[in-house]
Amino acid sequence: MTPSIRLSGAEVRRGGRTLWTGLDLDVAAGEFVTVLGPNGSGKTTLLTVLLGLLPLAAGTCEVSGSAPRRGSSDVGYVPQQASVDPLTPLRGRDLVGLGLDGHRFGLPFRGRTERTRRVHEALLQVDALELADAPVGALSGGEQQRLRIAQALVGDPGLLLADEPLHSLDLARQRTVVDLLERRRRDHGTAVVFVTHELNPVLPVTDRVLYLVDGRFRIGTPDEVMTSETLSELYRTDVDVVRVRDRIVVVGAEDRLVHTGGGPR
């Protein structure tokens, strides 16, 4: 079976600086890969590459067996929660619909019933039918994130990319978002690449971790990567990884892990 993502010898440069190089990563269908690392380590840039918005400086990248293509319906994208102005003329169903054909130029008259059906289905998948006609700006952060996931799912993607989708959500909302992504990959075999600063909310569903620090990286199961030894090597300083019940706490790199936000530009 074609892997959902295949990166080999991948190198990314931004502003004359090499963010990471020699990255080999195969992500299988239905696999959940969590990408961790401090700010500026190139986590979001990895998504930018997979979205087909940034070419690699070296190496190759394939998404579902072919080069990443901007606007591909095979890739869904869930961004960080961002506030929408209350008066923005945009309903839940419009937001989801934009995910389907918002990037297409030309007249929109063809396939309207099919479009309506797919938007309906995507809303159904995230239990958000009641949000279809609500103004997006009037909804809570959690409700908006449910719509964002529907927007990412409406093209029926084989790969979901999520960039800090839990940021600024409370614990209950975080769980809802993680459950929706987990349900999608279980039922549809959709691979998930999840960029975050906070591993714990996704720890139960994470198959593998990609940990990026200053151009160095490790790939493996959470048990393999989240050890004092591995993280100390990555950060080149003493880092302690402590397991407290079912949580993993990293001590010693706090100043590097502070979240400052920012989406793709």
Binding site: P89, L90, L98
Partner: protein, 284 residues
């Protein structure tokens, strides 16, 4: 003469056709202007169209006003379109250029020694001065703007209402921003010659702002904005004939009343939704 007699006059009919075309364009662009938070840059563009028109009038005479206004508006709209989304920087740059444009325009007007109606037209509108040639130009430009708008509407809405996501989906956000600036510049330049620089906002902003109060559907918002703009323009022209006054105050007043009514309706709607949510929470 009664209003009905006046309506049968050629110049009145020209004015009406021009008004209808302008209101259609303004109504369609308005919701995107509001969605992008560009009200202030429309105002700035209008002032630069005024300066361009006044400069052309001074140097080349009345026939050049339209071209001067177009050049001024498109030039500055492109500049604003390239400014990006940093709100504070955008605001101050627009403020700087707007006041400079207004100053230039006033200078050109004081140096101009011809008919004073030509001068004031650019500020407060001179719709009765519209001739068949103007109507044809306006209609032709209108058709071009409409076709372009129809072809780019979806990505333009995406880029305007949901910019980060649009960028992630590969929509050329920057290029669309510049294209929209040109469409807007052209429309503003036409509007300046008909309703005047001071009142372009009341066609481009007020109807769309009113529509945004009563609907969250982008399509319905566009339809309502067009209807509101048409009512304001056609109503304004007819009322001004009757009263023998300039059309601008009538257009502005009708648009304002529509806005007030929509705001009241919008407040009602929000309250009803809030109480429905409360009821839903109360029942479980």
């Amino acid at each position: 003469m009664t209003t009905l007699d006046l309506l049968s006059l050629d110049f009145v009919r020209n004015a009406l056709v021009a008004g209808v075309v302008l209101a259609l364009l303004a109504g369609l662009l308005g919701p995107i202007v509001v969605g992008r938070g560009m009200a202030f840059s429309v105002h700035g563009t209008a002032e630069l169209a005024f300066a361009g028109g006044a400069g052309a009038l001074l140097v080349f005479g009345t026939d050049a006003i339209g071209w001067g206004a177009l050049a001024g508006a498109v030039f500055v709209a492109l500049l604003f379109g390239a400014l990006g989304r940093a709100q504070r920087e955008r605001d101050s740059v627009i403020g700087v250029l707007l006041s400079f444009g207004l100053g230039l325009g006033v200078l050109f007007q004081s140096l101009y020694t011809g008919r004073s109606a030509n001068k004031f037209g650019l500020l407060v509108g001179q719709i009765v001065g519209v001739d068949v040639g103007d109507v044809l130009t306006l209609t032709a430009v209108g058709v071009v703007v409409l076709v372009v708008l129809a072809l780019v509407r979806r990505p333009l809405l995406f880029a305007s209402l949901d910019p980060d996501m649009a960028a992630a989906r590969g929509v050329p956000v920057r290029a669309l921003s510049i294209l929209f600036a040109v469409l807007l510049g052209v429309t503003v330049a036409l509007g300046v010659q008909i309703v005047g620089a001071l009142l372009v906002l009341c066609l481009l902003i007020t109807p769309a702002a009113a529509a945004a109060q009563v609907t969250a559907s982008p399509t319905l918002a566009s339809v309502l904005a067009v209807v509101f703009a048409e009512v304001a323009v056609v109503g304004g022209i007819v009322a001004s004939l009757d009263a023998g006054l300039p059309i601008s105050p009538f257009v502005a007043s009708i648009a304002f009343v529509i806005y007030l009514v929509c705001r009241a309706l919008g407040a009602l709607r929000t309250r009803r939704r809030a109480s429905a949510t409360d009821a839903a929470l109360a029942t479980g």
